[in-house]
């Protein structure tokens, strides 16, 4: 289903036009149209998934399953809302400053593209890389108006979220390790610890994103649809990756798979040096 490619490509194309210096009115219209287009495509692909169960563009790597379709719908719906609220907010904030408006729409569309990419990654580790990409692309959205207050917010957001994402990545590595060894070796506790580590790291990022959307704490973001979108979108993306990993754990607990995992562990223990 090549239509899947269009989901992140629509906002990416608008980001390209913003980078090339398109007019303000065009960017506002194109951003809203791309968000609406992504939502329509999400509904269409979700309907296909509801019938077929799964869509795969590159087997095992790129596609859409039932769980991902739910998150894709939520993300696309949020993108439309944020694009709609951005119209008034950006016009008011960037009066006579077309460069700032360009920056906003460039960053906004790149962020939307990265968020739409997360549910489309069938490989769990690559989905996690996409989640981290959302972290990076939201940094400029936090500090886009280039005031000292906004840059301070962007710096603190960048440091905490990058650190949180890396700690979460180690938790994710441990989780995959626990899954590979499965239950026969009694590593359920290890898997649980890894989930906690991954969620703690992601939690640091999500909490910071929510901080950006909290009007009492950061004045320059108080009317921004983007602030709320950063918070909600990143929470969706992280939750999606976590749930996918947990579901994979469940399928690993299947008796046949457990038997296979036990055989793998037994074979591994016979390697020299183990």
């Amino acid at each position: 289903m090549t239509i899947l490619w269009l989901l992140p490509l629509l906002p990416l194309a608008v980001a390209c036009t913003a980078a090339l210096g398109a007019k303000g009115a065009w960017m506002r219209f194109a951003t809203l149209a791309a968000s609406l287009g992504s939502l329509v495509l999400s509904i269409y692909t979700a309907a296909i998934v509801a019938r077929a169960g799964k869509l795969e563009l590159i087997s095992g790597w790129f596609g859409l399953n039932a769980l991902a379709a739910v998150f894709l719908l939520l993300t696309a719906a949020l993108a439309v809302t944020a694009a709609l609220f951005s119209l008034g907010y950006v016009r008011e904030l960037t009066e006579h400053d077309t460069a700032a408006e360009h920056r906003y729409y460039l960053n906004f569309n790149l962020f939307v593209a990265s968020l739409l990419l997360v549910p489309l990654m069938l490989e769990v580790a690559l989905a996690w890389v996409a989640v981290e990409l959302t972290t990076l692309l939201s940094i400029f959205l936090v500090g886009f108006d280039n005031t000292s207050e906004a840059l301070e917010a962007a710096w603190k957001y960048a440091v905490l979220t990058i650190m949180g994402a890396t700690v979460a990545a180690l938790g994710f590595f441990l989780l995959l390790w626990g899954l590979a060894q499965a239950d026969p070796t009694g590593t359920t506790g290890q898997t649980f610890d890894a989930v906690v580590a991954a969620l703690s790291g992601h939690g640091a990022g999500a909490a910071q994103a929510r901080l950006r959307a909290d009007p009492g704490r950061l004045r320059h973001q108080d009317r921004s649809g983007a602030g709320a979108y950063v918070a909600a979108g990143r929470t969706f993306a992280g939750t999606h990756a976590g749930v996918r990993a947990a579901l994979r754990h469940r399928s690993e607990s299947d008796p046949l798979r457990r038997h296979a995992a036990a055989a793998r562990v037994h074979a591994h223990s016979r390697l020299p040096g183990c």
Binding site: E123, A125, L126, V129, E132, L133, L136, I139, F140, G143, N146, T147, S148, E149, L151, E152, A153, A154, W155, K156, A158, V159, I162, M163, T166, V167, A169, L170, F173, L174, L176, W177, A180, Q181, T185, T187, G189, Q190, D193, R217, L218, H268, L271, P272, G273, C274
Partner: protein, 223 residues
């Protein structure tokens, strides 16, 4: 090569990897911290090469090549190129804690990291038994470095140390593909570029890269 020899060599590189982190904690010159980071990244690459040999994995060999290009070559080049004025302007790295106190806390963190990972080690092979505790230790030491440094460039390098720690543990316990590692390495380079651009913007608008002075967004108590 025999897996026992691989594991022994890997343990040696692991110890050196940890020592470079301690070295970075004690150094007070930005350029020297950058050189220590390069040494650490090279040791990480060496550990990946050993794993590729020990496990006879061409994919891990590809990961080693990606690591070599991204971490000890591209990242320092980008930092030097994008942040040359910040590297030259202020050579002395300011920190909240002095060296003896930093080292004492670091020692405590190392012992804690070992005890935190101990329950996981019975399920691990000889390489993972070294990489997991040292990786977590380096990650936590990187977090500490991030907390005690006042300047933007050393804080950026602390983020890279945290990444190295997670990667050092990760290569021993996961079997992810080279494509995933490539994407992760590309993202590491993006982190450096984005944080470096942010540092430049801070230097331009605020007049300094001393990020600890940015304190206008403190949480206020409700009246």
């Amino acid at each position: 090569m025999d897996f026992t020899i691989v594991a022994s060599l890997n343990a040696l590189f692991g110890v050196l990897f940890l020592l470079t982190t301690f070295m970075m904690l004690t150094l007070r010159q930005t350029q020297a911290v950058l050189h220590a980071y390069v040494a650490q990244a090279l040791l990480l690459t060496a550990s990946t090469v050993l794993l590729a040999i020990g496990r006879r994995s061409p994919e891990l060999a590809l990961v080693a090549v990606i690591t070599l290009v991204a971490k000890p070559l591209l990242v320092p080049w980008l930092i030097t190129r994008l942040l040359a004025p910040a590297l030259r302007a202020k050579r002395e790295v300011q920190a909240v804690l002095n060296v003896p106190t930093s080292l004492s806390i670091a020692l405590g963190i190392s012992v804690t990291a070992y005890f935190l990972t101990r329950p996981l080690l019975p399920a691990a092979d000889a390489v993972a038994q070294v990489n997991v505790p040292i990786g977590l230790d380096v990650l936590l030491l990187g977090v500490m470095m991030l907390a005690i440094r006042r300047e933007a460039v050393p804080q950026l390098m602390s983020l890279m140390v945290i990444d190295n720690g997670a990667f050092f543990a990760g290569i021993a316990i996961t079997t992810s593909s080279a494509l995933v590692e490539f994407a992760a390495a590309l993202e590491g380079v993006m982190v450096v570029m984005i944080v470096a651009l942010l540092t430049r913007a801070i230097a331009r608008f605020v007049g300094s890269t001393e990020v600890s002075a940015l304190a206008s967004l403190r949480e206020r108590r409700a009246p």
